[in-house]
């Protein structure tokens, strides 16, 4: 019953627990990630693409 103290907040974002963990580890806000899965589900690749995109942007800016 311990879970009763945690309330669900992020149900606007559709993603599996492993994807959420990945996002948390990388400090990614899932709200900014473009979903590619069925019914707008964010998949692992989407998070990776997002990070790659941000890194590319930074590289481009610093050049």
């Amino acid at each position: 019953m311990e879970n009763d103290t945690i309330t669900v907040t992020g149900h606007q974002i559709h993603a599996a627990p492993c994807v959420r963990m990945l996002a948390r580890t990388l400090g990614v806000n899932l709200a900014e990630v473009e979903p590619s899965g069925l019914k707008e589900r964010i998949v692992e690749e989407d998070v990776k693409n997002f990070v790659r995109h941000v890194m590319d942007e930074r590289k481009r800016k610093s050049e």
Partner: protein, 890 residues
């Protein structure tokens, strides 16, 4: 426990968010699929991640899913108030006259709303009393049901005043008893546990009737109301799996969880609702919890951090009881006060407001939502509603509400009555309360409540409870019908058991044109022991889902055939279940308007000894049918030993006033008894049922002697007259297989020049009952002349001492001693049984031919008719050992 401690909130959050997103985007079904996949993965990996069979301590139905209430809440509240008032008045008035009368107030007070929502919106009645719902009312709340019938005009004030005062007629029984109110009560629901198991098998019988095209089920439901404390009876929860296995979606249990039984809390240190929820979920029932009333909705809605829910989940029943007994201020301090944040959340509520935060089982809206869901759910499962209530609800915390002794309260002081009157707004003055007995209150005929009450019941088809007493009459074939004639002719040289003779009669009945489809053979396993396996194929074993496999014996003539239209109820190893099943079938005429003829065939030892209370209730419920104790007789079922050898079931059966019992020996006796029983019950409508014992010993069965028929029914007849030319005579009485030992003893006695008349005593119980009535008449009106008891008439013109021997305790034959017109000696099988050959056992229990013959000679010696030398001679010849220990103590 380690696994309930939160060690990584963000990880937990991810899983919950993920699940929430699946529900949100893909729906509940997809979420369930994922859950099941997780479970099957963990099963495959051999992980011990148990499924939980519990939900949080809150209502199953969300506030947003509650339907609109279709009734007038204000009028229904007034009706409930009047019913509660009168239910108390009848108990209080009865006990004012005589404090020993007793009665229970608190159970109905806690369940009033549960019943009233049912009466106003769900329980269907019918003009024939055989088409509507079947409601098993929890026994202790009967005053509330009488009080409702009073408002309906079905019971008068005079009748209410005769609650628990039944002698002389017209009274109201303490609990539901069809025997005492045959046009009112349908089901005996006390003692506790009998109601729920009967309800399960009733719901199954209705499916059986439907599937066999005997009576369509339609929308009919079985409602069983029971208490949380009652769930500790094994009968209550013992058959839950049958209900789900048989897909009894026509069955609804409503458990009044008032958390108390007579002595104290049901589960002081735990939550009984949680325990019951997991039991029912584990048995694949739908579980609907009605925990909190509408007053809690706002508090729970704003419980964003789950603190309140956690507190609810952790509070034990002993505390919950205390909150209601001690009131609002106490609840604020000791419930909400456990968490400063929660204390702040109820700051705006007064103590009175807190006291009035009700439990779900007192809230019509919540109950209606639950009943509606139960009635509409069509997933093939039975449903249980767990309703959280307060024992003695409405009586006031100083006058019994949630009090430790609430169950035993049957009187109320003036102050308590005043408070009750104010709470229920009953128009009765202080003067009226002070001056006389607590007055009844019935709203006038033109009051809106009265209109409403009748309108609701009219809409739902009629008033409840009501039992049908207009039964169909069956035409029973005469004894010369082919069903019976084979048995009357005997078997010649052929040796068969009385069980086989019985099975032949039963088979004949199943083939009879008019009666065949009404025969319901019920067996708790062991059909093969009784040689009934042939019926498996002929009649089929009832199986709601048909047969989904090829039985291993498919190629054989008598294979195990299961069929949705099967006639046999093969109950498996549950005597309580099989007996409940028999009761349902044996009352089908009263509840379904369809007369059935059920035969319950079982191991005699596991009959009355094991299901005695159900058998007593069967008598109360005016059952009609046959109970057949197989492998009977202490020495006859020889190999099975102490726990299996029945030597007393006839004595137990004799305790039930409307149970007629027989211990036949020969096939023609069985035919006569069964034919007579059928005629009595189904043609002449005698309110009785039959118990007969059948045995597994093989012997030749003679043809019926001329003129034996009446004696077979009344309890004894002359089987074999002794030689006329002998002056020295004895009378030998025997029953069951031991009758044959008496016949053999007759031969032995010829060597001693003693003639013996041999009597078959088919029922010592029937002989005694008749004789008792004879005595009673004689004492009542000594001036009149009465015909002597059958037993006395039979023996009074015969000379010689009388020796009786049976395979039962000596008391069985001894019970007629007062009416035996000569010296009387009894042999029987007192003591624990044990395994050995029949010969050894009969010698051990001293009931064999040698003991019978020797006893006859001893009896004659005592009369001076034979010499002591002869007795000694016999002792040596028969190997009688005078120094051996009595079987009673060895």
């Amino acid at each position: 426990m380690k696994d309930t401690v939160e060690i990584d909130k963000s990880e937990t959050q991810e899983w919950l968010d993920a699940l929430a997103s699946v529900v949100d985007r893909e729906g509940e079904n997809r979420a369930r699929f994922l859950f099941n996949s997780l479970h099957s993965y963990s099963d495959k990996q051999g992980l011990n991640i148990a499924r939980t069979f519990n939900t949080a301590h809150r209502n199953t139905i969300a506030v947003s899913d509650e339907p609109d209430y279709p009734g007038n809440l204000d009028i229904e509240r007034k009706l409930r108030a009047a019913i509660r008032w009168n239910s108390i008045a009848m108990v209080v008035r009865a006990n004012a006259k005589d404090k020993s009368i007793g009665g229970h107030l608190a159970s109905y007070m806690s369940s009033s709303t549960l019943y009233e929502v049912g009466f106003n919106h769900f329980f269907k009645g019918s003009p024939t009393r055989c088409e509507g719902d079947l409601v098993y009312f929890q026994g202790h709340i009967s005053p509330g049901i009488y009080a409702r019938s009073y408002l309906e005009g079905r019971l008068s004030e005079e009748q209410l005043d005769r609650f628990r005062r039944e002698v002389g007629g017209g009274g109201l029984p303490s609990y539901p008893h069809p025997y005492l109110m045959p046009d009112y009560w349908q089901f005996s629901t006390v003692s506790m546990g009998l109601g729920p198991i009967q309800a399960i098998y009733q719901a199954r019988l209705m499916k059986y009737l439907h599937n066999r095209d005997l009576k369509p089920l339609g929308e009919r439901k079985v409602w069983a109301f029971l208490g949380d404390g009652e769930c500790d009876e094994v009968e209550t929860l013992g058959a839950l799996n049958l209900a789900s296995r048989e897909k009894l979606d026509n069955l609804i249990f409503v458990i009044n969880c008032n958390l108390q039984r007579l002595d104290g809390p049901v589960r002081g240190n735990d939550r009984v609702m949680e325990e019951l929820e997991s039991s029912f979920l584990g048995s694949h029932w739908n579980v609907i919890k009605v925990v909190w009333g509408s007053g809690w909705d706002a508090l729970l809605e704003s419980d964003h951090d789950g603190r309140l829910q956690r507190l609810m989940n952790e509070t034990v029943d002993g505390e919950y009881q205390n909150f209601k007994a001690q009131g609002g201020a106490y609840t604020r301090r000791h419930f909400f006060g456990k968490d400063p944040e929660l204390l702040a959340r109820v700051e705006h509520l007064s103590d009175q407001d807190i006291e009035e935060l009700t439990r779900g089982g007192h809230d019509s809206l919540k109950i209606y939502a639950a009943y509606q869901k139960a009635v509409k759910t069509t997933n093939g499962k039975p449903t249980v509603i767990l309703a959280h209530t307060v024992k003695g609800y409405g009586m006031g915390s100083e006058h019994g509400e949630a009090d430790m002794e609430a169950h035993n309260i049957k009187t109320m002081e003036l102050e308590g009555l005043k408070r009750l009157r104010d709470r229920f707004a009953i128009p009765v003055s202080d003067e009226q309360l002070k001056s006389g007995p607590m007055p009844y209150y019935r709203p006038g005929n033109d009051a809106p409540e009265t209109d409403y009450l009748h309108a609701r019941r009219t809409l739902l088809g009629g008033y409840l409870p009501a039992r049908n007493t207009d039964h169909e009459t069956l035409s029973i074939p005469a004894l010369d019908d082919k069903v019976f004639t084979a048995q009357l002719k005997g078997t010649g040289e052929r040796k068969i058991s009385s069980t086989m003779a019985f099975v032949r009669v039963l088979t004949g009945l199943t083939k009879h044109k008019q009666l065949g489809e009404r025969i319901v053979p019920i067996i708790p396993d062991e059909a093969r022991t009784f040689g009934m396996e042939g019926m498996f194929r002929q009649l089929g074993i009832y199986a709601a889902g048909g047969q989904k496999y090829a039985p291993v014996d498919a190629g054989q003539i008598m294979y195990y055939r299961e069929d949705i239209k099967g006639q046999i109820l093969e109950e498996g190893i549950t005597e309580a279940g099989a007996m409940a099943s028999w009761i349902a079938a044996a009352t089908s005429h009263a509840n379904h308007g369809k007369m059935l003829i059920p035969f319950y065939i079982y191991y005699a030892m596991f009959g009355f000894q094991r299901i005695g209370d159900l058998a007593w209730a069967a008598g109360d419920m005016l059952t009609r049918g046959f109970m057949v104790g197989g492998t009977a007789g202490r020495t006859t079922i020889n190999g099975e030993g102490l726990q299996h050898q029945d030597g007393h079931s006839h004595l137990m059966a004799s305790a039930i006033p409307n149970c007629r019992t027989y211990d036949p020996t020969y096939g023609y006796e069985i035919a006569v008894i069964v034919q007579h029983g059928l005629k009595e019950m189904y043609e002449r409508h005698k309110e009785c049922f039959y118990y007969l014992t059948i045995m597994n010993e093989n012997y030749a069965h003679p043809a019926m002697p001329d003129g034996a028929q009446e004696g077979i029914i009344r309890g004894m007849y002359l089987l074999q007259a002794g030689e006329d030319d002998q002056k020295t005579r004895v009378q030998l009485l025997g029953s069951g297989t031991i009758l044959r030992e008496a016949e053999a003893a007759r031969e032995l006695l010829l060597d001693f020049d003693v003639a013996a008349d041999v009597w078959s005593v088919t029922s010592f119980n029937e002989l005694r009952r008749e004789a008792l009535e004879y005595d009673r008449q004689r004492f009542m009106k000594p001036q009149e002349v009465y015909e002597k008891p059958w037993l006395t008439q039979a023996l009074e013109n015969r000379s010689g001492p009388v020796i009786a021997a049976t395979d039962y305790m000596k008391l069985y034959a001894d019970q007629v001693r007062a009416w035996v017109p000569n010296d009387y000696y009894v042999l029987g099988t007192d003591g624990f049984g044990r395994s050995d050959s029949r010969e050894q056992l009969r010698a051990f229990f001293e009931v064999d031919r040698y003991y019978i013959a020797w006893m006859a000679l001893v009896a004659l010696c005592e009369k001076g008719e034979v010499s002591a030398d002869i007795v000694e001679q016999a002792m040596n010849r028969f190997n009688i050992e005078p120094d051996r220990l009595s079987p009673l103590v060895s």
